[in-house]
Symmetry: C2
Subunit: 106 residues, 2 copies
Amino acid sequence: MPLKPGKAVRGSNSGRPIMVLLDALGQRWTLRIIWELRDGPHTFRLLQSRCEAVSPTVLNTRLKTLRSLNLVETTSTGYALSQQGEALLEKLSPLNKWSEDWAKTL
Amino acid sequence: MPLKPGKAVRGSNSGRPIMVLLDALGQRWTLRIIWELRDGPHTFRLLQSRCEAVSPTVLNTRLKTLRSLNLVETTSTGYALSQQGEALLEKLSPLNKWSEDWAKTL
DNA sequence: ATCGTTGCTATCTTTTTAGTAGCGAGGGGC
DNA sequence: GCCCCTCGCTACTAAAAAGATAGCAACGAT
């Protein structure tokens, strides 16, 4: 059951891209993996250690999904964000700054 | 174990706000709930039906978390994004358009 | 008082995620 | 060739989260 725009996902059978995206990003570690790839390619094991020892089972599952969604690709030096992945990260990276301001209000 | 900036979350004990945020948003339905609140307050049950019958158990858990994170608040007409929640949604809403372009590349 | 709707809890099942061990492939040194 | 190390990754099992369903107490309108 691969995740793919146009296909139903959990919680939405519309197949609308945003729903597919929200479903993918809502799986644990997905957002984090994209985040950790922000400064360049990482090997599987390095990525694993950056994500505080996420289990290889999950990491590999996520990487498979992210590759099938064309957000991550394998390079000679390890896993890296694809062009699309970079674009997505660009949309997400303002969250870093925002989250710090947000934290102050708590 | 409430989610809160400054405190360890699963996968990061740094307490950095971005990690707390990524952890929160990476829980299933969280992103979707924020998304569904984009056009105004909704009652618990309406929100539930908008999220294609998400179980009340999970919905309530998420709403509790989102309230404790100051992203959602209760109003006379139901659950609504707080000021912070609106700000977050603003950061996320470009994803809708982006996701459509992205979907074309698949 | 009855009815419908609300937010929500209790209970149980299923799915997902976590944790750990270790394999086969490849590279380097010798 | 052989040893040793690191690599990506799979297998297996345990724990945690999410899903599904039933239903209760509180409120408002009739």
